[in-house]
């Protein structure tokens, strides 16, 4: 009797372990993201917005284009200072920057006509897809950014 219940007990244990564990199949640790449903919504909406507003230059796969448009994928510049990256997403970028050892100096237009929510969705998608760890960026964070943040970029 006890033996026949063992398989189902193991399944229950395995399910509870999977649910409690923060490691997902992609190997990322999502423990910093309590609201995973919202995160997935942001990623989905962010992808569409990224393709429309960012993919033209940074390319759909985030690889950038030659020495014209910097890559976002595995970009040391992007990961080094996430706050600076959020500022650039919202207000654009002017002047020389160095990404993965390569100098870039094309002007990036501002995206301030997009809403805080849209910017947060883009930033969530960009960091989670091309960055080094999944992040949920909130609309409040994007709305709180002031144009002065650009002064810290260069």
């Amino acid at each position: 009797m006890a033996c026949s219940k063992l398989p189902s007990l193991l399944i229950v244990l395995w399910i509870s372990y999977s649910a409690l564990s923060c490691k997902y199949r992609d190997g990322n640790d999502y423990s910093s993201i309590p609201d995973r449903k919202k995160y997935l919504q942001y990623i989905t909406a962010g992808k569409q917005l990224y393709l429309e507003h960012c993919g033209n230059c940074h390319q759909d796969d985030g690889a950038g284009l030659a020495r014209l448009y910097p890559p976002l994928k595995n970009s040391d510049f992007m990961n080094a200072d996430p706050e600076r990256t959020l500022c650039i997403i919202k207000f654009g970028q002017r002047g020389m920057i160095k990404v993965n050892g390569v100098e870039f100096n094309m002007e990036m237009p501002s995206n301030s006509r997009l809403s805080g929510l849209e910017l947060a969705e883009i930033a969530t998608y960009v960091f989670s897809t091309f960055g080094n760890k999944p992040v949920l960026v909130t609309p409040d964070q994007m709305e709180a950014l002031e144009p002065e943040c650009k002064n810290s970029v260069n």
Binding site: N56, L65, A66, R67, Y69, M106
Partner: protein, 227 residues
């Protein structure tokens, strides 16, 4: 029994025949497809002329008008630059925040594919000559990493660029302040043959359309005995 056997023999023979016929048919279709003659775009006119006392009717095809622009090396670029060549034309501007970078990415694929082929050239017209000076175009081409022998980035009188865009290459190129960047322009890549005729128009923002362009170029090279 022998009758049946004979019938069976013939039936087998005709099966093989049919199979060969189907194979030849498929092979010839595939062959035709890969070396199909590309159509000629634009309005055509029939023009009569006298030849040995007879009236002969020639089809006159739409042709790219005369032009004279300057490229990233300050070199004068005219129709003569593309004499005996096939070239791909497009319209863009360096500060374009919308479709141009996608077009450049795709054109770069064409460039890489036909790099150093003396019969293939690319002509990118800037529709924003006020910002895109020769030095800006030079910097842009250098950063894209392309050779000025094969890929010319040209600027010139804006009205002339718009005019040749609309009338010769049959694409949209105009000022429009409501558009991001201030211009309304198409993402078309236009393939021009050595007789200045348009032989293909492709959406330069779509990789699969540019695949067609890359496949069509060898057909046109073959048509002109250039490969």
């Amino acid at each position: 029994m022998p009758k049946y056997g004979k019938h069976s023999h013939w039936s087998l023979f005709s099966d093989i025949q049919a199979a060969i016929a189907v194979f030849i048919f498929i092979a010839s279709c595939a062959g035709n497809h890969s070396s199909k003659k590309l159509e000629t775009f634009g309005p055509k006119q029939v023009s009569p002329r006298f030849d040995n006392g007879k009236t002969v009717y020639d089809t006159v095809y739409h042709k790219i008008a005369d032009f004279r622009f300057y490229d990233q090396d300050s070199a004068e670029i005219t129709n003569q630059t593309f004499s005996g060549k096939i070239y791909i034309a497009d319209f863009f501007f360096t500060s374009c925040p919308t479709i141009c970078p996608r077009m450049n990415t795709q054109l770069l694929r064409v460039y890489e594919k036909f790099r150093d082929n003396p019969h293939i050239a690319i002509l990118s017209h800037s529709i924003d000559p006020y910002n895109d000076s020769i030095s800006v175009l030079k910097d842009f081409a250098d950063k894209l990493g392309v050779s000025s022998d094969q890929w010319h980035f040209v600027a010139g009188d804006q009205d002339k660029i718009f005019e040749i865009g609309q009338k010769s290459y049959m694409v949209t190129a105009m000022n429009d302040l409501s558009e991001p960047g201030g211009f309304l322009h198409s993402g078309a890549l236009i393939m021009v043959d050595p007789e200045r005729r348009i032989r293909g128009i492709y959406d330069g923002t779509k990789p699969e359309e540019v695949d067609h362009l890359i496949n069509d170029i060898p057909n046109l090279l073959t048509e002109y005995g250039m490969q």
